[in-house]
């Protein structure tokens, strides 16, 4: 089989594997830091989103609402393009940071909705009980609501992280050397002159990353649900 011969050829050629590893490094760097940034932004936006309706919170709430609407409503490729060629249009600016910020901001919008849903999923009776026992609003939130909310949020966050990792493949559009770009170059006329083989190999790497991540998420979820009677 031509296909499998070519896969073996790719995996045994040191030059090609070096390119794949170089790409993998970029993909992982962008994914990990963007995920962290996304979680931070998402948490802030979610907390602002569910806060009470005092006059001080009106403006922040409006900003967060616009942020979530615009970011979720426009294509990621366009956001990356604007980030690379308008906002960070600075000579010699590290492209990794451009990508991390673009993906972090994008991911934050989705994460914020997941976290908001998680907090709202905790019965209002829990908050009322906490307040009735004399705890302050903040203590009720931190000690009673959030620990229960986290359990509900983990699967949704895991989903978002997986989507984020695979979505980073579009950074090749701004010329970054990620896993997909490496596969494209290996597939170009100067190297193997066929796309299917390197793309399939890259896909296996993505699958492996996602599988490891899923494993981690399952483990955390299991630990958190250890006390549940189900």
């Amino acid at each position: 089989m031509d296909f499998f011969d070519n896969i073996v050829r790719l995996l045994t050629t040191e030059k090609y594997m070096d390119m794949i590893y170089q790409g993998l490094e970029t993909t992982l760097t962008v994914s990990i830091f963007a995920a962290i940034l996304g979680l931070l932004i998402g948490t802030v936006v979610a907390i602002v989103g569910i806060s009470g309706n005092s006059k001080w919170m009106l403006l922040p709430k409006l900003i967060c609402k616009i942020y979530v609407t615009v970011i979720r409503g426009t294509p990621m490729a366009l956001q990356l393009f604007i980030m690379a060629y308008a906002i960070f249009a600075i000579r010699g600016f590290p492209q990794e940071i451009t990508a991390i910020v673009a993906f972090g901001i994008n991911s934050g919008a989705y994460v914020s909705e997941s976290i908001r849903a998680g907090i709202l999923s905790v019965d209002i009776g829990q908050t009322e009980a906490g307040r009735a026992l004399g705890l302050s609003g903040a203590t009720t939130m931190i000690r009673i609501v959030i620990p229960q909310a986290i359990k509900n949020v983990i699967p949704a966050i895991g989903n978002e992280l997986i989507a984020l990792i695979k979505e980073t493949s579009i950074v090749s559009m701004i010329g970054m050397y990620d896993l997909t770009q490496a596969a494209k170059i290996i597939g170009s006329g100067t190297n193997m002159a066929s796309y299917i083989v390197p793309m399939s190999v890259a896909a296996c790497f993505y699958l492996a990353i996602v599988y490891i991540l899923t494993f981690g998420i399952k483990f955390i979820e299991k630990r958190l649900r250890a006390g549940d009677k189900r």
Binding site: M19, I90, G92, G137, K184, S188, G189
Partner: protein, 295 residues
């Protein structure tokens, strides 16, 4: 308490976003020791392509010589082919663009072009066993536009092949194009693709032909294991006239007004375009070398 914390966090986020405003470090390629930023699309062998993680090729060699002349480093920036002209026009991110760019009036209105350094003919790449008719004149086998009627033609988006194909299929004297396209109304489908390698993979299955510049076409066919062939693309001559090839010239583009860089590029090109005893220019030698055809 919660409200205050939320407010602080929200403000922190706003500030973080506000910090992302553009800044210009004012390095426009002027002054000794700076860097020249070159925008390219490194999927166009032999002019620029990746060798491992490095961008190499004929354009790279030309620009390195320009860098030496001006005493500056060359910084290569890879990206979509379609953004090169706009990026160079604005001049914020790049001083010049070197990517086998064809000189067209629309592009010349936005950027300054150097002297052309290579003449390329459009080629049609065909899959093995294709039934598209070829013609022969004075020993050269070629394909005329008419032979492609009713077929699905792939091109790389924004390249010259794309511009020509789009024109021939969509142009009529009544619309903006102002001339009659050869393939107008023949049911020919135009299939623009991300790059020529994707198109080469699709040849024979979803597309019937790929229109691309001469050298990349030859590169694709010589490296292909699928038996691809390529032929020059010709316009049918009028009654009694010979058919003529679809030609174009490559040049390097520079931000308008950057005469220092443009002059340096033109000087380097003039040196490289001097023919040696065998009638071969330095650029032709580089091309052969990067295509693995040097002896």
């Amino acid at each position: 308490m919660k409200k205050i914390i939320s407010l602080i966090l929200a403000l922190a986020m706003m500030l973080a976003l506000a910090a992302c405003t553009p800044a210009d470090n004012g390095d426009n390629g002027g002054g000794e020791g700076g860097s020249i930023y070159v925008q390219t699309n490194a999927f166009f062998a032999p002019f620029e392509y990746y060798d491992g993680t490095e961008i190499v090729g004929v354009d790279v060699e030309i620009m390195e010589k320009v860098g030496q002349k001006l005493g500056k480093d060359i910084v290569w920036q890879d990206g979509d082919f379609g953004i090169i002209i706009d990026t160079v026009k604005v001049g914020q991110l790049a001083d010049c663009g070197a990517a086998g760019l064809t000189v067209t009036d629309e592009r010349a209105a936005k950027v300054d072009f150097s002297t052309p350094y290579y003449t390329s003919i459009q080629y049609v790449v065909l899959p093995a066993g294709s039934d598209i008719a070829k013609k022969t004149a004075s020993g050269v086998e070629y394909i005329v536009w008419e032979a492609l009627a009713g077929k699905t033609i792939a091109t790389q988006t924004d390249t010259t092949g794309w511009i020509y194909t789009d024109g021939e299929i969509n142009a009529t004297a009544d619309n903006d194009y102002g001339y009659d396209g050869v393939l107008y109304g023949t049911g020919t489908t135009h299939q623009p693709m991300d790059n020529a390698d994707v198109a080469a993979d699709a040849l024979g299955t979803t597309v019937d032909a790929l229109i691309i510049d001469e050298l990349p076409a030859k590169y694709l066919t010589s490296n292909s294991t699928k038996g691809l062939t390529c032929y020059p693309l010709y316009y049918s001559g009028a009654e009694g006239e010979a058919d003529s090839p679809v030609e174009e010239e490559y040049a390097i583009c520079v931000t308008k007004g950057n005469t220092e860089l443009l002059t340096a590029i033109n000087e380097v090109l003039a040196e490289l375009l001097v023919e040696d005893a065998n009638g071969q220019t330095q650029i032709e030698k580089m091309v052969m070398q990067h295509m693995g055809m040097s002896n």
